[in-house]
């Protein structure tokens, strides 16, 4: 076997009194894809950051191609050939795609930025990912998925010797993921070492050569063979046995709660959509990235305007001018972007829960006692691991998501819409969220779940509405839905 490109020895990291990495050692060889797995908060991103020079280890050492390696800045790491695709999007929305791809390392000619070359080379990188958008376009306004692809293009342009991908597919659909994998395989064949982080088990099996599991900052296990059963890997991650991911669904009532007919958006991102959701039913919405799912559910929850069609709740036609109207009627939405739409991350959990319930807190004077008890009830009821007075930014993604769900469910809504409810969330936490969803249905609530994760829509839905390019491609019953039938409709 050749020498490792990178080798970590006894890496530890403390944040104040909190130890998030404990004595982690790891070798990465050229031409292999190592999966780094672990629950939310296991330390995967922290470890990636250390390798890429954006964080410094408290203890331990690294070698790069046999030489001692201790990057003090991201720049040093990049110059050596270590490239990290961050978990959070690292784009500048006001600048063009091309400029984002080459940020900090613009191609130069005669001491000035060579824009023509920059655009040309950026366009080439986009093409590798089957992304056909002009590289001169501004990033602002692109869908999350496309932004994620640009983030990947940015890394591809760097000629890395070691590439770390931290949850690159969390926002991607099947086709985009496939294009990415093609590039990953190509890089692997060129001898690039790759560390791949994801919560999606089926991908792990497809792309990785070796699996390393972190738990509570410790390296607990390694599986040399990607054929290891998912169940075994998951149990190693969570440190206990996990009986099932998806709970059994209750049988819906036949009382329609939400009826949508002929709904269209002014920007045409969805057109003439008609469906209903019954009490106790979970309706999944599937589709390719950009199919208009998010826009559809935003319209239903009053966040965006509609241009035609009607929304009825228990037979009554609704005129929704803004979310306030929808919320007052009992329609609530857990948005797809937790950090920008779901939570004020810099504020406390309790505050965040209160924000969605300001009108409910008896009288209009909210004493700290009222506030605390209300928030504590919500935290306990929905199994948030955290205290009401903690800042939302301190929670793991899964727990943040539970807070968003909790703040809405405290209102006893009639319709609950969840857009990408488990994006970036580990298997353990995911099971918890599925339990909450199913419990809602059991109580007779009408539930809509939008997801790019096919396994997820299939797992929690009574019926599945498929959108293709804004058009309603069909509605599948649970017994007729499988990955093939859904994809067939989605790619019409």
């Amino acid at each position: 076997m050749t020498d490792p490109v990178l080798s970590l020895k006894g890496i530890s990291k403390w944040y104040g009194p909190l130890q998030v990495l404990k004595n982690v050692s790891l070798d990465v060889y050229p031409g292999e894809v190592v999966a780094l797995l672990g629950e939310n908060g296991a330390g995967k991103s922290t470890l990636s950051g250390i390798i890429a020079g954006s964080r410094t280890p408290s203890e331990g050492s690294m070698t790069w191609l046999g030489q001692p390696y201790a990057p003090a800045t991201p720049r040093e790491a990049i110059d050596k050939g270590v490239v990290l695709i961050h978990q959070e999007l690292q784009l500048l929305p006001q600048l063009s795609i091309a400029e984002n791809v080459f940020i900090g390392r613009w191609p130069m000619k005669n001491g000035v930025v060579d824009r023509a070359q920059m655009v040309r080379r950026a366009q080439e990188q986009l093409a590798r990912l089957n992304l056909h958008i002009p590289a001169t376009r501004k990033v602002a306004g692109l869908s999350t998925a496309n932004q994620q692809l640009i983030e990947i293009a940015k890394a591809l342009a760097l000629n890395a010797k070691l590439l770390i991908l931290d949850e690159p597919t969390a926002a991607l659909g099947g086709a985009e993921t496939e294009a990415l994998f093609e590039q990953v395989r190509k890089l692997r064949s060129e001898g690039v070492g790759i560390i791949y982080i994801s919560h999606r088990m089926e991908e792990i099996k497809k792309i990785t050569d070796r699996i390393v599991v972190l738990r509570d900052g410790e390296r607990v296990q390694e599986f040399a063979d990607s054929a290891t059963p998912v169940r075994t890997i998951v149990e190693s991650m969570v440190g206990r046995s996990l009986d099932r991911l998806f709970p059994t669904l209750p049988v819906p009532t036949d009382r329609p709660i939400l009826q949508v007919s002929g709904l269209s958006s002014p920007a045409n991102s969805f057109r003439d959509v008609t469906f209903d959701v019954k009490g106790g039913e979970i309706l999944g919405i599937a589709g390719l990235v950009g199919a208009g799912r998010t826009e559809l559910v935003r319209a239903i929850s009053g966040a965006d305007p509609i241009s035609a069609g009607s929304i009825r709740l228990e037979g009554e036609e609704l005129r929704l001018r803004d979310p306030t109207d929808a919320i007052a009627k009992g329609i609530v939405m857990v948005p797809e972007d937790r950090k920008d739409q779901g939570l004020v991350v810099g504020h406390r959990i309790g505050e965040n829960i209160i924000y969605a319930n300001l009108d409910k807190l008896g009288g209009r004077w909210i004493t700290p006692r009222v506030k605390r008890s209300f928030a504590e009830i919500a935290v306990a009821k929905f199994g948030v691991k955290g205290r009401a007075e903690q800042y939302a930014s301190d929670l793991s993604g899964g727990n943040q998501q539970k807070v968003v769900i909790a703040k809405w469910l405290m209102r006893d809504p009639k319709v609950v819409v969840l857009d990408e409810p488990t994006r970036g969330i580990d298997v353990g936490a995911r099971a918890g969220i599925y339990d909450i969803i199913v419990n809602l249905a059991k109580r007779g609530v009408a539930v809509i779940v939008v997801s790019s994760d096919l396994e997820e829509v299939l797992g929690v839905s009574n019926r599945i509405l498929v959108l293709a390019q804004g058009k309603q491609a069909g509605i599948l019953n649970r017994d007729e839905a499988n990955d093939v039938s859904v994809m067939e409709l989605a790619t019409i």
Binding site: D322, P323, P335, V344, E351, Y355, L358, W365, I366
Partner: protein, 326 residues
């Protein structure tokens, strides 16, 4: 970050300091300033001087409350100084030129300032003009109108009871104007802490999109806040008129920066969503005590400017150093 947070949590859970989160540095600065001045000058530590300082900060204090609201929602209000002048001139004109009772003049003055705030609020919410520009424009326009009312002339001489509001020390201690400022501060504090509308300001400032999706009427909150800021600026103008027993259209020139400084020194973040009235009170007191102290120390006027600059940086920088250490 965690270390900081843990530290803040500990504070807010237990000690009294925690009540003015984010303003601990400035509070320490204020106490240090007071301690220093008590030792270095006899005149500082006396009831009389304390009451003087309170008198001197009334106008700034009232305006700073409104500015706290504005900055909490992530906005800015550059028009306060001009709106103050506008309210004064409208009041003066109504009472001394149109000859209506002074109380009516006061009402008209407050209404005029409220209208300015409403215009700003509508520009910001309906026409998406950045707050900086909308209030800068109002700063110019309100000053122009204030000038036009009397063609730039001051108006002097109001009924005695009015001036007495700023002079008579009730129960031997507080003037009516100081009492008014304290009431404004207290009500604002209660409002921000306990009223659901108050919490909305934090939500809007924290992230307007999150707030909107949570069913908060962001536009209404924004308009309300600019109206409140303008009306409080108007009220500050009325207080100033009582204190000066006269009104002139050039009043309040440059006050916007003083006011914003007081709020920011008090730990309210210019990006919105964090801070509060407690901190603002500390910020106002730092400015008031500093100016008073430098006068008492007989520091030459030019050197005062230099020292004020340094103390402002220290008061705010102390917060950073505290955080680093924690």
């Amino acid at each position: 970050m965690v270390a900081l947070d843990i530290n803040e949590q500990r504070l807010s859970a237990g000690t009294w300091l925690g009540k003015v989160k984010g303003a601990t540095g400035p509070l320490v600065g204020l106490l240090a300033l007071c301690a220093f001045l008590s030792f270095s000058t006899d005149a500082f530590l006396s009831v009389r001087n304390g009451l003087n300082i309170l008198d001197q900060i009334t106008v700034l204090g009232i305006m700073a409350v409104g500015m706290t609201f504005v900055i909490l929602i992530g906005g800015i209000d550059l028009s306060v100084g001009s709106v103050l002048a506008l309210a004064m001139m409208v009041m003066g004109w109504t009472a001394n030129i149109a000859g209506l009772p002074l109380a009516v003049g006061i009402a008209f003055g407050l209404i005029a300032s409220g209208i300015s705030g409403l215009i700003v609020g509508l520009l910001v919410t309906q026409f998406k003009v950045p707050a900086f520009i909308a209030t800068l424009a109002m700063m110019s326009a309100a000053r122009g109108v204030a000038n036009m009312i009397t063609d730039g002339q001051q108006i002097v001489g109001f009924p005695d009871w009015f001036m007495m509001l700023a002079i008579d020390r009730h129960f031997g201690v507080l003037t009516a104007t100081v009492f008014l400022m304290l009431a404004v501060v207290l009500v604002a504090w209660l409002f921000l802490h306990f009223r659901s509308e108050g919490r909305m300001l934090y939500a809007v400032g924290g992230n307007p999109e999150v707030a909107r999706l949570a069913g908060i009427n962001v536009k209404l909150v924004t308009i309300g806040v600019y109206v409140a800021s303008a009306v409080l600026a108007g009220l500050a103008g009325i207080v100033l008129a009582a204190r000066l027993d006269s009104v002139q259209p050039s009043s309040g020139f440059g006050y916007e920066l003083d006011t914003i400084a007081a709020v920011v020194i008090g730990g309210t973040s210019l990006s919105g969503g964090a801070g509060g009235i407690g901190g603002t009170l500390i910020g106002v007191l730092i400015i008031g005590v500093l100016r008073n102290g430098l006068n008492l120390l007989n520091v030459s006027p030019f050197l005062q400017q230099v020292i004020i600059g340094i103390v402002i940086v220290l008061a705010v920088g102390a917060e950073t150093i505290r955080r680093r250490r924690a």
